[in-house]
Assembly symmetry: C2
Homo-oligomer: 340 residues x 2
């Protein structure tokens, strides 16, 4: 092993509103010894995701809150560099919740060897990982998109939204993306085959813009964002519309609940459904879903991008930028080079 210390990023303070640098702390610690049944992983790619903001609050949600003064949790693709566990061999590339650090010792629980076929191992954190599964399982189950229907996706250029939109195209839908930069809009339409996309930062009239882009109304909405964009979508719902609530990133930094127009009456008028989900509820479908996603990636029907920030010390910045929408596709932090 080439180094004797492990650098890790801890949560130093619970953010108030939008998180800031001093909410995090970079520490150096000895690399723990590897006991029988354990192995040591060197991190290669770290995933930063919107859900992490929720965990930073001191409030039980569907996951326990992130503890203060402990390493930030997070999904990592890494390489086994030392092993006392017969199921994991030195050189194996593995996926696990190893956290924001350079090295982690694991007993192998909820760790799996990365199998991404021809795609790079980083995709185990993106299109072939949790974001891809979130898109596939949640969208198909809740929205049940039918050919010819109009599908709107918010956060459309993100790791989840970009997959949802492409699946909707594969299913024969008209797909309209909502994103926050002109570059994202161009990417959605020119690279990913969306029928249209809008930059919500270029207009205050979300309702009018959606009307223009969705002349036949909206049958399915996959929501990563919430807030006024979602309000506007409600105004264009077709009968029997289906809304999947995957994320509400516009609300995650709110220090008190934002208010918005009461819109439940619209669900009556349109006999429409809104359903929230967590990817974990679909665990029994993961194997088949991942195979399908992998097939689509290999055939070129499903494209993906990654935005990579280099260096563990820059993980907080990568996280902030992801929350601000700087990323097209999956936001990753590269911690070290793969050995091969």
């Amino acid at each position: 092993m080439s180094r004797k210390t492990n650098r890790q990023i801890q949560l130093a303070a619970r953010p108030e509103g939008f998180p800031k640098g001093t909410d995090f702390r970079l520490v150096e610690l000895p690399i723990p010894p590897v006991a029988a049944g354990q192995f040591l992983v060197r991190s290669i790619f770290l995933s930063v995701d919107p859900y992490m903001r929720g965990r930073m609050n001191d409030r039980k949600s569907y996951v326990e809150p992130q503890e203060i003064d402990r390493v930030m949790g997070g999904g990592v693709v890494g390489e086994v560099v030392e092993s006392q566990n017969e199921k994991f061999n030195v050189g194996d590339v593995v996926l696990g919740m190893f956290g924001w650090q350079e090295y982690a010792v694991s007993d192998g629980k909820e760790v799996r060897v990365v199998k991404t076929g021809a795609a790079p191992s980083s995709t185990a954190l993106g299109v072939l990982g949790m974001p891809g599964l979130t898109a596939y399982c949640g969208f198909l189950d809740i929205c049940n998109p039918q050919a010819g229907e109009t599908v709107v996706v918010s956060g459309a250029a993100g790791a989840v939204g970009s997959v949802v939109g492409q699946i909707a195209k594969i299913k024969g839908c008209r797909v309209v993306g909502v994103a926050g930069t002109d570059a994202k809009v161009a990417h959605l339409v020119n690279d990913l085959g969306f029928d249209a996309a809008m930059n919500y930062k270029n207009t205050d009239d979300y309702y009018g813009k959606l009307k223009e882009l969705c002349p036949a109304g909206i049958d399915c909405y996959f929501d990563n964002v919430g807030g006024p964009i979602t309000d506007a979508v409600f105004g264009h719902l077709n009968e029997k519309g289906r809304i999947a609530i995957c994320g509400q990133i516009s609300q995650y930094n709110a220090q008190q609940l934002e208010k918005g127009p009461r819109l439940l009456w619209k669900l009556i008028e349109k006999q429409a459904k809104v359903e929230g989900f967590l990817v974990f509820q679909y665990v029994s479908q993961f194997r088949a879903a991942k195979q399908q996603l992998s097939d689509w990636v290999e055939s070129g029907e499903l494209k993906y991008r990654e935005r990579i920030v280099e260096g563990l010390e820059n993980a907080p910045r990568a996280f902030f930028e992801m929350l601000q929408g700087e990323n097209i596709g999956k936001q990753l932090v590269k911690i070290s080079e793969p050995s091969v």
Copy 2:
């Protein structure tokens, strides 16, 4: 025929906010002649319902708006007093959308002969009519209540809510009603067998009161009301909770959309669903549903009440009082005496 004129109530003006007497007009008109294929109905009971408020706005919803200077639409149980239609005989008690008037000429389209078994014909407008079907079909389909689950019903003492709560009891659920008077609360618990009920006018702390009454959280919510009560229910939703949106009566008189806390994130955390419905979407189930409701009424498992205001001229008042929650059970207007 004993009279030569027909009195009817027309919509004179579109209400601004809560409707008032001058929004309606009582007129006398000749009774129209009965042509071949038609029959004349003398109204006995008129139904006033929350949905009528929505129709008074000049805005297409799931039904066309009520026209100004035309007879107010509405469901009526009446008696055929003259007939040139072989399917409808003098003396038949029929149900149809005959409107707020004493007499109506019909061609029989969407009219049916009332069959309420041992129950009085007025129940064709209530527990065995549209409100009962709304409760039965919407609740069972969307909430899919399971024995042992906690079910909350808002507008619980109304024509729909009182049926929902009793069906939930039949299905083995813990049932908590929300209503607006102490008399309603007593009725729900003492007469209808609800496990608990709250008078929302006795507290500002809906959240705290629901916590007390629903110690195991809320699995199903059948919402007739909306607004802050519904907000509070969101705070107690269990995982995989199901919310059926039947009505939003707290919002119907709003002149602009009321604002409330944004709560869609809660649906993610709880993997929960909110679905709106219209009774018409279940038309294929009506026959079986009505049979089941009828059986329960006859066995005494399903109880109902009616609040009857006498006289066509008092229909607007009956409508206002229903919107204000004066009724326990179904609000009706008695237009004339049945001949037998």
